[in-house]
């Protein structure tokens, strides 16, 4: 018999038959791991401001936060991805927080055909609302990074 174990791969790729919450779980994990690594580097990089103006300017130039050219464009692209990762993790995190403490959860009712879990309607509507918020945030970010000069 085949073991029901997909290993680490399933953390990030739950499979096409997985529901939306399962995909959000995977994305939440992936963005979380990326953000921990980014945070560690970020603390080291911005720490350069404690060593004076020259150190700050030099560090910003090295990482591509200032200046021009291909390297700078690449930095902007990754900065946009970072902003998206933060936004997604925060917005989905808010959903998890609300769900964990049972807010928006309806009263359970006797299951009747077509057997829709009515008590879960609130969290589901909230999920769609948050995804719309994220979409607006995504567009705002796009405007900030690629349209406004």
């Amino acid at each position: 018999m085949k073991k029901n174990y997909k290993g680490i791969r399933a953390w990030f790729f739950p499979g096409f038959r997985a529901n939306i919450e399962r995909w959000l779980f995977s994305l939440h994990r992936l963005t979380g791991i990326l953000l921990v690594f980014y945070l560690s580097l970020h603390i080291i990089v911005v720490g350069s401001r404690a060593y004076g103006k020259d150190a700050w300017i030099r560090t910003m130039k090295i990482v591509g936060a200032t200046g021009e050219g291909f390297y700078r464009d690449l930095f902007i692209f990754f900065e946009y991805l970072l902003v998206l990762a933060v936004g997604f993790h925060a917005i989905n995190g808010l959903r998890l927080l609300i769900t964990e403490f049972g807010f928006l959860l309806g009263k359970p009712k006797r299951p009747e055909y077509p057997y829709v879990a009515l008590s879960l309607k609130g969290p589901k509507v909230f999920l769609y609302f948050l995804m719309i918020c994220f979409f607006i945030y995504l567009l705002l970010g796009f405007k900030e990074f690629f349209i406004f000069k």
Binding site: G32, I33, V36, L39, V46, R49, A50, E144
Partner: protein, 119 residues
């Protein structure tokens, strides 16, 4: 104790939701903010010094470090210790992440306070 960590993970998440999104808007959405009348260049040295000298910003940065590092490293520990490898080396992983987290916290706090004295 485990429950306390888990509760703090959620408390820090609630604080981070506001802190992090404010941080993102101030530091990364400055062109949009400029359009609505809040002009600032977040990476320019004068602005950096101005923030570093502000007691409010310094306090928020240190709070930020506590919440973000705890939330991030506790989350990472939970993810890693779910694996077969992680279960086997749970203690080592926990100690390593505590050590790394504390190092980043002290370094971050040191540079945040020291930056308040630069010219």
């Amino acid at each position: 104790m485990k429950e306390k960590y888990w509760i703090f993970h959620y408390i820090s998440a609630a604080f981070l939701f506001f802190l992090l999104l404010s941080h993102i808007f101030i530091m990364h959405f400055y062109k949009i903010l400029e359009k609505i009348g809040f002009y600032q260049k977040p990476l320019e040295w004068e602005t950096v010094v101005q923030r570093a000298k502000s007691v409010t910003f310094t306090s928020v940065y240190i709070l930020f470090l506590i919440f973000a590092l705890f939330h991030g490293f506790y989350g990472l520990k939970n993810i890693l210790t779910e694996t077969i490898f992680g279960k086997k080396y749970k203690k080592h992983i926990t100690i390593f992440l505590w050590f790394l987290g504390l190092f980043l916290f002290f370094y971050g706090t040191f540079t945040t306070i020291k930056a308040g004295g630069v010219k």
